[in-house]
């Protein structure tokens, strides 16, 4: 049986946070939204770059199945898309990338990894980018279509799988 040592550290972080002054939670979150706004262009650049990568992967695959590594790469780019859509609160892009993520995850372990369902999602991402702040109602039919596509490949529940809000 191995010995276990217990420590009760007082992290400096705790001490510093409780120093006088500072911001309330609402003020801090408003500050973060404001700071994020300053880097909107940079974020968009990242999104476009990732979308370009996804499109290149599915286009290069054509009619053949994707490799596991290619799907993994798509997933990583989907992650970046979602990483931007979440703090900027772009609801449609969020749902599309959530569906793309679930689809990619399902394809990773699938016997066949066709490129076309990912290509459909890439087109949806492009649409969502052009309508970044659209209401979900406007994108409803497209999102429903994506859910069907994703479900066909074992990624059901795409619409329910949002990120941590």
């Amino acid at each position: 049986m191995s010995a276990v040592k217990y420590h009760w550290p007082e992290p400096r972080l705790r001490t510093l946070l409780t120093e006088p002054g500072g911001k309330t939670r609402s003020e801090a979150l408003a500050g973060a939204a404001e700071a994020l706004e300053e880097c909107r262009d940079v974020a968009m650049e990242g999104v476009r770059e990732s979308l370009g990568e996804i499109e290149a992967i599915v286009e290069a695959a054509g009619a053949r199945d994707l490799t596991r590594d290619e799907v993994f790469c798509v997933l990583e780019h989907a992650e970046r898309l979602a990483g931007v859509a979440t703090p900027f609160q772009w609801p449609v892009l969020l749902q599309v990338t959530a569906s793309l993520g679930l689809l990619g995850d399902a394809l990773l372990d699938a016997a066949h990894r066709p490129a076309h369902p990912l290509a459909v999602h890439a087109r949806a991402v492009r649409w969502a980018l052009d309508h970044a702040e659209s209401a979900e109602a406007e994108a409803g039919p497209m999102l429903a279509g994506l859910e069907k596509v994703a479900a066909r490949y074992g990624a059901a529940g795409a619409q329910a799988a949002g990120p941590a809000a």
Partner: protein, 188 residues
Amino acid sequence: MAEPRLNFDNVSALVVDRDQYSLTLTRQMLRGFGLRTQYQARSGDEAQKFLRKTPVDLCIVEARLTDMSGYDLVHWIRRRPEEILRFMPVMLLSGYTQMRNVATSRDCGANCIVRKPFSPKVLYDHIVWSAASKRPHLESSVYIGPDRRFHDLEDTAPARRVTDEDAPAPDPDAAPDIADDQLRRTRA
């Protein structure tokens, strides 16, 4: 009751992420919270070199780095001789490509795991939770890091191990911890 104020002015943080865009967004969020001293590293090696010279109050590490995994970096931090590093709050960022490695995340010694993508609210709450949590820090031959047994949740959680069926509803005022919740489910 007035909303409490937290002062991030003098907090220093290191954000380790291989993706420049993700790094920028995380740092902007921190800046918005009021954190003025921030550093960044794009690789585990860069982070290690930096931390040897400059201890910080908070470290935010992406699970997937170029030269090593974020888990390895946290593992390294927890085994440093300097107490300021060993006990430093460390948050692990994990995307869905890494969520399959829940057990690894749990065992590397991070204070909490934040599932990507995350909003400023989630980041803020996890930082506050990491700072406020009074879990003891354990050192054994197999694990070094914050106690994973949640003694400090006695007020909100049943004394016995919880399952999905009898888990209490999360308290919206308590900082949520998505990964910890997952870890509890994994153990149940």
